[in-house]
C-alpha cells in the first residue's frame, strides 16, 4: 500500500529480523497461491505487519523453512510456510488493493490516474480470486467500500480536521484487520488496524503536502493549516512540531494493544518493535521530508533513537 509501517531494524534481534523477513516472504508466497502470481507485486510492508498481527491473534505459529524464490534465486531464504492466517491476510490484502485502486481512479488526475487504470485489470482479478477462495468473511468488500466512500465524501467536502479523515481511514483498516475474528482478538485487531490506518494517512498527508499544495488537491493538513502549512515549499516547522507531538499520542492505544499480545508468540517482539520504534522512526523520516524511502528504516543507526 504505502510502506510506512516497518520495524526499526537495528533494534531487532537477529532472530526477530529473520522471522520478520520470513513473514514477508511467506505472505508473498501465499499471495501467489491465493490471488495469483501477478498479485505478488502488490506486496507491501504494511501488509506484512498485518499478516504478523493476524498470526499472533489467531495463535498460528508458522513453520519457518528456507526456500528459494524467483526474486532471490541465488540463496535460500527463511520463509513462513503457508498457513490459514497468511492465506486470509493475502485475500484481505487483495480486497484492500482493489478498493484502493477504485479510489485512485476516481480521485486522481494525470499520471497517477493512468497508473491506477493500468492496475485495474490486475486488482479486479485479484479480488475475484480472493472472493472465490472462500477465505473472506461475507460482505467485507462492500463494507470496506462503504468505509472508503465515507472518507471520500469527507475529502470532497474538504474536511479541515485531520483527525476526522485519518479516523475514517483508520476505520477502514480496523475493518480489514478484524475481518473474520471474534471476541477479544477482534477488538485488539481493530485497535491495531485503527492505529495503523491513522498513522499511514497522516504520514501520507505530510509526505504529499508540498505536491498537493502545488496542484490544488485536497490535503487534510492543508485544509486545516491553510497558509501556515508550508514554508519555502516544504513542511513548515509548526506543522512538523504539531505532528511530532500528536502522532505518537495517536499511537498510544496501539502500543497498549501491542503490550497485550501473546508474549510467547515468536512474532510479538517484531510487532512491538514496529509499533513502538518503527512507526516513530518513520514519522521522523517523513517530517524531515525524506519520504518513506525504498530501503530499511534506521539507516541513521540505533543511536538516533
Amino acid at each position: 500500500m504505502y510502506g510506512y509501517v516497518r520495524p526499526l531494524i537495528p533494534e531487532l534481534k537477529v532472530g526477530e529480523y529473520e522471522r520478520y523477513r520470513a513473514v514477508y516472504c511467506g505472505l508473498c508466497r501465499s499471495m501467489g497461491r491465493v490471488t495469483g502470481q501477478a498479485s505478488r507485486i502488490t506486496l507491501s510492508y504494511d501488509m506484512t505487519f498485518f499478516a504478523a498481527v493476524r498470526m499472533i491473534l489467531e495463535g498460528t505459529v508458522p513453520r519457518f523453512v528456507p526456500m528459494r524464490c524467483p526474486a532471490h534465486p541465488l540463496n535460500r531464504r527463511l520463509t513462513a510456510e503457508d498457513n490459514p492466517s497468511l492465506r486470509t491476510a493475502a485475500a484481505l490484502s487483495a480486497v484492500l488493493c482493489r478498493e484502493k485502486n477504485r479510489d485512485d481512479r476516481r480521485d486522481e488526475r494525470g499520471l497517477p490516474m493512468l497508473k491506477a487504470a493500468l492496475r485495474t485489470p490486475l486488482t479486479a482479478r485479484m479480488e475475484r480470486r480472493a472472493v472465490k477462495s472462500g477465505l473472506l468473511p461475507e460482505g467485507i468488500g462492500s463494507e470496506l467500500a462503504e468505509c472508503l466512500e465515507r472518507l471520500c465524501d469527507a475529502e470532497r467536502a474538504r474536511c479541515p480536521s485531520a483527525d476526522e479523515t485519518a479516523g475514517l481511514f483508520g476505520d477502514a483498516l480496523a475493518l480489514v484487520f478484524s475481518a473474520g475474528l471474534t471476541g477479544e482478538a477482534a477488538e485488539e485487531a481493530r485497535i491495531l488496524g485503527d492505529g495503523a490506518g491513522r498513522f499511514v494517512y497522516l504520514c501520507d498527508a505530510a509526505d504529499d503536502l508540498p505536491d498537493d499544495a502545488r496542484r490544488g488537491r485536497y490535503n487534510p493538513l492543508l485544509a486545516g493549516w491553510g497558509d501556515l502549512a508550508l514554508s519555502e515549499g516544504k513542511l513548515s516547522p509548526m506543522v512538523r512540531d504539531s505532528l511530532g507531538a500528536a502522532v505518537p499520542l495517536t499511537l498510544e492505544k496501539m502500543g497498549e494493544a501491542a503490550d497485550r499480545l501473546d508474549p510467547a508468540h515468536p512474532l510479538t517482539p517484531v510487532v512491538r518493535n514496529i509499533v513502538y520504534l518503527g512507526l516513530p522512526a518513520m514519522l521522523r523520516r517523513v517530517l524531515s521530508g525524506e519520504g518513506p524511502g525504498r530501503g530499511r528504516t534506521g539507516k541513521e543507526g540505533p543511536g538516533s533513537l
Partner: protein, 211 residues
C-alpha cells in the same frame, strides 16, 4: 449566516419530532433560570434566544415550504450583538468537565473572535476528546498568535513531553524489574537471605547457622 439546523445540532433530514426533541433538550440545558444569579445569566439568555429563533425558523420553513433565512439571520445578529464572546465561561465549563456545553460555545464563536485564546481552548477540548492532531494544530496556532503566553506554551510542551514518552515502553513490559531485592527471582532471594543473616549476626543472633 447561521444555519438553524446547525444551531439545534440536527441534520436537515431530521423529522419534526426530532427537531422538537433537540430543541427541548437544548432549552433544558441552557435555560437561564438554571444559572440565575450567576454572572453568565445574560450570556445564556442570548444563547437561549438563538436556540428559540432557530427552532422558530425551522418551523416556519417547514410550514411555509420556504427557507427561513431572515429568522436565522436575525438570530445570528442578535448573537453577535452580545459583544465579544466570554471565554471565561468556557473555562468554567471545562473545569466542571462539561465539555459538550463548552464545545457548543466555542463552535458558535464568530470567526472574528477566534484569536489565540479561542485556539487554545479549542485545542484543549479536542485534546480531551483524543483528537490529538487537531489539538496540536490549535495549540500551535495559539502560540503563533500570542508567542508570549506561558499557558499556551505549557499546553504545547505538555503534549510534546507526552509524545516523547512514547516508545520508552518498548521491552520494559514483561521483563523482571531490576534492582529490587524482594522481586522474587532466585539471585534476589539469595542476596536477601544473606543480608538478613548479616544483620542478625550484627545484633548477636544468627539466621543461617552455617555462615
Amino acid at each position: 449566516m447561521k444555519d438553524p439546523y446547525q444551531v439545534l445540532g440536527v441534520p436537515r433530514s431530521a423529522s419534526d419530532e426530532e427537531v422538537k426533541r433537540a430543541w427541548r433538550e437544548l432549552a433544558r440545558k441552557y435555560h437561564p433560570d438554571n444559572y440565575a444569579g450567576s454572572a453568565q445569566a445574560a450570556g445564556y439568555e442570548e444563547l437561549m434566544k438563538e436556540i428559540n429563533e432557530a427552532y422558530d425558523a425551522i418551523q416556519k420553513e417547514r410550514a411555509g415550504g420556504q427557507r427561513g433565512e431572515s429568522a436565522a439571520s436575525s438570530a445570528y445578529s442578535s448573537y453577535k450583538s452580545s459583544g465579544t464572546t466570554s471565554f471565561y465561561e468556557v473555562r468554567r465549563l471545562i473545569n466542571e468537565k462539561k465539555y459538550d456545553q463548552a464545545k457548543f460555545i466555542i463552535d458558535s464563536t464568530p470567526a472574528a473572535d477566534r484569536g489565540a485564546e479561542w485556539n487554545f481552548l479549542m485545542g484543549w477540548l479536542l485534546y480531551q476528546g483524543g483528537n490529538y492532531t487537531d489539538a496540536a494544530r490549535h495549540f500551535e496556532i495559539a502560540c503563533y498568535l500570542d508567542p508570549s503566553n506561558r499557558e499556551y506554551q505549557n499546553a504545547r510542551a505538555g503534549m510534546q513531553a507526552r509524545a516523547g514518552d512514547y516508545g520508552n515502553m518498548y521491552r520494559t513490559v514483561g521483563t523482571s524489574s531490576d534492582g529490587d531485592c524482594l522481586s522474587g527471582d532466585v539471585c534476589g532471594m539469595c542476596s536477601t537471605l544473606i543480608c538478613c543473616d548479616t544483620c542478625c549476626e550484627c545484633m548477636g543472633g544468627d539466621l543461617i547457622r552455617c555462615c
